[in-house]
Amino acid sequence: MSVLVLVEHDGKSIKDSTLATVTAAAKLGEVHALIAGSNVGSIAEQAAKIAGVAKVHVADAPHLDHQLAEEVAPVAARLMEGYDAFVAPASTFGKNIAPRVAALLDVMQLSDILSVEGPDTFTRPIYAGNAIATVKSNDAKKVITVRTTVFDKAAADGGSASVEQVDAGQPAGLSRFVSLDASESERPELTSAKVVISGGRAFGSAEQFHGLLDPLADKLGAAVGASRAAVDAGYAPNDYQVGQTGKIVAPDVYIAIGISGAIQHLAGIKDAKTIVAINKDEDAPVFQVADIGLVGDLFKIVPELTQKL
């Protein structure tokens, strides 16, 4: 089987999500990569070095800058004539583009796969992760997005793929990139951090949320996340949200502070190796899944923890 992986990049570097996607794709067959963008020569060089990538296709044109779905999907769909499967990360990037490719190919997509059980059989979460479905695709070609936290990252070095330019096509001209309001952070990314600390509504205000959690995160080299309740209350920006409808995380250690543990939040953290919970309510559902729990007042515990660590 020949597999085309859509590379997620920001014009400067390849995202880790791509490396996990390559690992999942390699379970299906020989992996080729597609890079779409504008002036992406250095991205192509990086992609060629990923272990397990045999060939890199580059569609380089001004209209592919910002990788708008309307522009990238036709390029991918054309290239898919020579492939059996299209695989993208289940990040907002991949989720935006992959179904558009699937529709152009008249294929029903498999979203957010957790495992590859066979050439046409996969597992994927449904009902916010409350059930796991084993699904077989009867389409000739497969279009797949991958939950990147459950697959190991392919080595970023060691490969020596050939690089080939492909037809970037004509601009669709349906949409225009206006701006990206990027959340700047010195901290590691939520989805790839080894340690994640998250806060809930119990923090009471944005000032207290950041005032208490940021020093602890700095001490631990951790990423900072938030429950949906904390995001909705305005304590943290939307891209902090951890959970089924936010970010799925799988760090070595996840520390939930002042988070009661709604189903949809727990669905986003269940692949963490160790879950630590700090909450004043000893009956909070989060304690049912936590490996280590501490019952108490976060306003006392967090500063003490930051000081003692």
């Binding site: 009867n138 225009r176 990206l180 909705d232 936590a290 729990g293």
Partner: protein, 253 residues
Amino acid sequence: MKILVAVKRVIDFNIRPRVKMDGSGVDLANVKMSMNPFDEIAVEEAIRLKEKGVATEIVAVSIGPAKAQETLRTALAMGADRAILVQTPDDVGSEVEPLAVAKILARIAGDEQPGIIILGKQAIDDDSNQTGQMLAALLGWPQGTFASKVEAGGEKLTVTREVDGGLETVELKLPAVVTTDLRLNEPRYASLPNIMKAKSKPLATKSPDEIGVDITRRLETLKVAEPPKRQAGIKVGSVDELVERLHGLGVAK
């Protein structure tokens, strides 16, 4: 301008889904069903665009069993003007796949000629997150997925999208497809008078055959299982003990 809104009848978001003993799926017998939460946000956004004078008519569409009429009545009670149910046999129920749903919606869009189609970004049952993107592809329209802000102006729609790295703003030519994220708006509750009024609003019923779309599944569900359960661990009594444990895990050493 007309706005088309797609709504799906799903398990109520407050209900914890239970996997059937025989592993064939999730048990939906005698379970409270509601409008998919992301679709409520879609209906609300359409109503706000009408209130702003951007839209003149809102048509709500659902693809599902006869009971999906209730979901459409909810949309009508919130403020949609009329509804179309594409009724599927009960045994297929909510199992119509995103690709088939997108094809049905594309056909309806051909008849109705809306300027904007708004959908939830995903349904909370199959969690596919595909229909809006597929519909946009089939129609050859632009898409503003995971929207947290929608602004209409002239022949364009400016959509702010919730992406992993922050907020991305794109400008779309009309007609366009929008899919909603959680923070786009807070849906209103239908008032009792509006619920009564909704009962007399027009609701047309069609079949997938009449529309000319094959809803045969492409994906076969072989098994549905409970996810592996995490066990509750230990409770520590003090911050000192927690620090010791964290050091033991190699954190902040």
